[in-house]
């Protein structure tokens, strides 16, 4: 396709309000998500009421919890009833009631004895996230009474305990600073830590590109009906369609790339560009297959929601469902979202494109339709 034809098609597209709005939706969506990610939001909200606010263990626990990542919020309550009431009315996910004798509880735990009173956790229903929170509370408590375990053990070794206090005071300085775990995704690309609200942005942009590819099909059908292709005769109609779709996709793809780069959600411009290019080819071929199978604007209107919903669910936009890879591998957005961090999936996306070409050819031959 010549540059002149590319420019002419582009000019026509920019005159279509639908297309311009679709393009504008990309920066708007990213900006909105950025604003949302900057706001106060939490995956878990915990209310804490300490029966004795001056208890050393209670204060230490609050200090430790304040260092937990901000997605989990901890709020101190002045009233036990209010905290429990807020759990009942779903304003809080859990209420933790710290007993007045929490210092003694920690002492008993350090001595390996059963505590007289415990921290009561109020929750509306059981769930895996509640178990996580319980583990978090227990680990923070462990950090506080761990010096006590040492003190009791050391006290039992020798009769003379002189100087032991000094070693208890410097207990935390002894903790090795190196992390026990180092996190990495499978694959060579990594991205900076991002808010959990920003995590679906890439997925939603991928879905927006999928919608754009459907729009390309609809524009193509309209232009076929309006006789545009009388002026663009080609022996290879599928190749002509590929060129047409590419013009529609290229603007959106560039905007998505820019949005990812400017918002800091990218893994490197070259990797992003290569992934995006292959994804666009996969989308174009996918949309061409759908068009050739269903063939009318109205049917596309029905098929598009189905495909988009399935793509959102099957691709790791919000959650990555495990154990359904065979079904997941049917949608292009799955490959794109996985290949961002790992070239293993990029290779598979290329293979997927080849399969699409084969399917397209088969359908073309079966239907023998005029493009």
């Amino acid at each position: 396709m010549s540059i002149r034809r590319f420019n002419l098609l582009n000019k026509r597209l920019y005159k279509q309000a639908t297309y311009v709005i679709l393009l504008l939706m990309i920066p708007i969506a990213v900006t909105l998500f950025k604003v949302a990610a900057g706001s106060d939001s939490h995956v878990m909200r915990i209310g804490i009421y300490a029966e004795d606010k001056d208890a050393v263990a209670a204060r230490s626990l609050m200090d430790e919890l304040s260092k937990v990542r901000e997605e989990i919020s901890f709020t101190e309550y002045a009233s036990r009833d209010e905290a429990i009431k807020n759990v009942t009315s779903a304003k809080l996910d859990e209420a933790w009631i710290i007993p007045a004798d929490i210092d003694e509880t920690f002492e008993r735990l350090a001595a390996g004895r059963q505590p007289k009173s415990t921290i009561t956790v109020y929750e509306r229903e059981q769930g895996v996230t509640h178990l996580f929170m319980q583990e978090l509370l227990e680990s923070k408590a462990f950090k506080i009474y761990a010096p006590g375990v040492f003190e009791i053990s050391a006290g039992k070794v020798l009769d003379d305990e002189g100087g032991l206090d000094e070693f208890v005071k410097t207990f935390y300085d002894k903790a090795p600073g190196n992390s026990i775990f180092s996190y990495s995704r499978l694959g060579e690309n990594s991205v900076a830590e991002e808010s959990y609200l920003l995590m679906p942005v890439r997925g939603l942009l991928a879905i927006l590109l999928l919608i754009t590819s459907f729009a390309a099909s609809i524009f193509y059908m309209e232009d076929t009906e309006n006789g545009l292709f009388i002026y663009w005769h080609s022996k290879f109609k599928n190749l002509r369609a590929l060129g047409y779709y590419s013009v529609v996709m290229v603007n959106s793809a560039v905007l998505v790339l820019l949005a990812l780069v400017l918002s800091g959600m990218n893994v490197g411009i070259v990797s992003e560009a290569v992934n995006m290019a292959v994804y666009c080819v996969a989308l174009i071929l996918f949309s061409m297959i759908v068009r050739m199978i269903f063939g009318s604007v109205k049917t596309m209107g029905v098929v598009m929601p189905l495909v988009v919903i399935m793509s959102i669910v099957l691709s790791p936009v919000f959650i990555d469902i495990k154990g359904l890879r065979a079904v997941q591998s049917l949608v292009p957005s799955f490959y794109y979202l996985m290949s961002t961090y790992d070239s293993y999936w990029l290779v598979r996306m290329c293979l997927y494109c080849l399969c699409e070409v084969a399917v397209l050819e088969v359908i073309y031959r079966i239907k023998q339709i005029k493009l």
């Binding site: 929750e123 229903e125 680990s139 761990a146 375990v149 070794v157 775990f181 499978l186 929601p305």
Partner: protein, 413 residues
């Protein structure tokens, strides 16, 4: 009479689409059911049901790994959250992670046991997840690694402190080793008995919805929202000829809108009624267990069905407005879905609204999709019924007025 004829004409138009709509409704139902299963599987928990499959990869110190896995799976509370699977071949483990058989993989480096034993911590366990967005689960998985680190690091601090103290006191090496072994066992027993610190009290869902109830409500409304796409042909018209003709014959715009709405709504009622039957059957057979459905007697299910239809009035009205405002086939096809999907997302149909910042949650609640959600939730919780009903009625009336204005403007163009 003329209104009746116009209504019948609309009804005939949509009746032609009914078989197609029914087939597509079943398809949409299948998709929504799949969405529901996926969403609930992400937050579901039952004691004894394994959630996360974690691979443990290590070539050396196999007895150490075996013992660790045995201890965790036998005595530790974490057995309710995860299943540990041992690997000796990294490629096999990687392949399972790619396939989604594993949620995460921990690679224990050679010499890690010595590194911990000598308290140097110069080696770290590599914790891998597959590529892709990590989402909310990633937030919790990060915390879990932090929790495990805390237990190890502060136990080590205790052991190092004990060595230093006994050195200071001039204790023999033999005495030191014996004391450290005892301290290690103390930390181990403290660790395994950590659950003694907490008493959990489950209050139940006296107010607000349970996780199952929430997703059930959201997805029921989501299904109704996407049903309109099964009948998209009803909304796609090339020009305003029919509307103008009806207007010239004395059929006022409010009458036209009412007729359009009732015809479209009735068609949706047929689809929803057919789709509700298997849902009710599943509820009765306990294949679908929603805590809010404390009874599955017909009277209760019928009341729920009635409330679904009332919520559907608002959704149908909102969709009618979207299709009326949008002009052109392409716009209707592309943007109607984008708008409805965005509204459903912000109103918390697919993702709990409490995850969003307060300002976005508020916007989500104020959208017609959010008002429908509040209304249907209020039936299941039996709270704030009056205000939810008032909001719904107000919205239906307001949308009707806006629809009349838009149609009038289009006819007079």
């Amino acid at each position: 009479m003329k209104y009746g004829r116009y209504f019948l004409a609309q009804l005939k138009r949509i009746k032609k689409l009914l078989p197609e709509m029914l087939c597509l409704s079943v398809l949409f139902f299948g998709v929504t059911f799949f969405v529901g299963k996926t969403l609930i599987a992400g937050s579901d928990y039952e004691a004894g049901k394994i959630k996360y499959r974690i691979g443990i990869m290590g070539k050396e110190e196999e007895s150490f790994i075996d013992m660790g896995i045995f201890l965790l799976e036998s005595f530790d509370d974490s057995k309710y959250m995860m299943e540990l699977v041992k690997y000796t071949d990294f490629e096999e483990a990687k392949s399972d992670l790619y396939d989604g058989t594993l949620s995460a993989l921990c690679e224990i480096p050679a010499g890690f046991y010595d590194s911990i034993n000598y308290l140097s911590n110069d080696l770290s366990i590599k914790y891998y997840t597959a590529a892709g967005s990590r989402g909310v689960t990633g937030v919790f998985m990060d915390e879990i690694t932090g929790i495990i680190s805390d237990y190890i690091v502060y136990s080590e601090a205790g052991i190092l402190s004990l060595y230093d103290y006994l050195d200071y006191k001039g204790a023999s090496a033999e005495m030191q080793n014996e004391a450290v072994d005892k301290l290690f066992m103390s930390y181990m027993s403290t660790l395994l008995g950590r659950g003694n610190l907490v008493t959990v009290k489950t209050l139940g869902i006296s107010n607000g919805l349970s996780t199952y109830g929430y997703y059930f409500t959201g997805l029921t409304l989501f299904l109704m929202s996407v049903l309109s796409f099964a009948g998209i042909s009803f909304f796609i018209k090339k020009n305003m000829t029919l509307d103008k003709l009806a207007h010239s014959r004395g059929i006022a715009v409010p009458g036209q809108i009412a007729a359009d709405f009732v015809a479209y709504f009735l068609c949706n009622v047929v689809c929803v009624t057919i789709l509700m039957m298997p849902i009710f059957k599943m509820l009765k057979a306990k294949l679908l267990e929603i805590p809010e459905f404390f009874t599955t007697e017909n009277a209760f299910l019928f009341k729920f069905y009635g409330n679904v239809l009332v919520a559907m009035v608002l959704i149908c009205m909102f969709e009618l407005l979207i299709f009326e405002v949008l002009e052109g086939t392409v716009n209707k096809v592309i943007f109607s879905f984008t708008i409805i999907l965005s509204c459903a997302y912000v109103s918390g149909y697919l993702y709990p609204a409490s995850f969003f910042p307060e300002s976005i949650s508020k916007v989500g609640r104020l959208l017609p999709t959010g008002v429908a959600m509040t209304f249907l939730s209020s039936f299941l919780t039996m709270k704030e019924r009056e205000s939810a009903t008032l909001w719904l009625v107000g919205y239906v009336a307001a949308i009707f007025v806006v629809l009349c204005l838009v149609r009038t403007k289009k006819i007079n163009k």
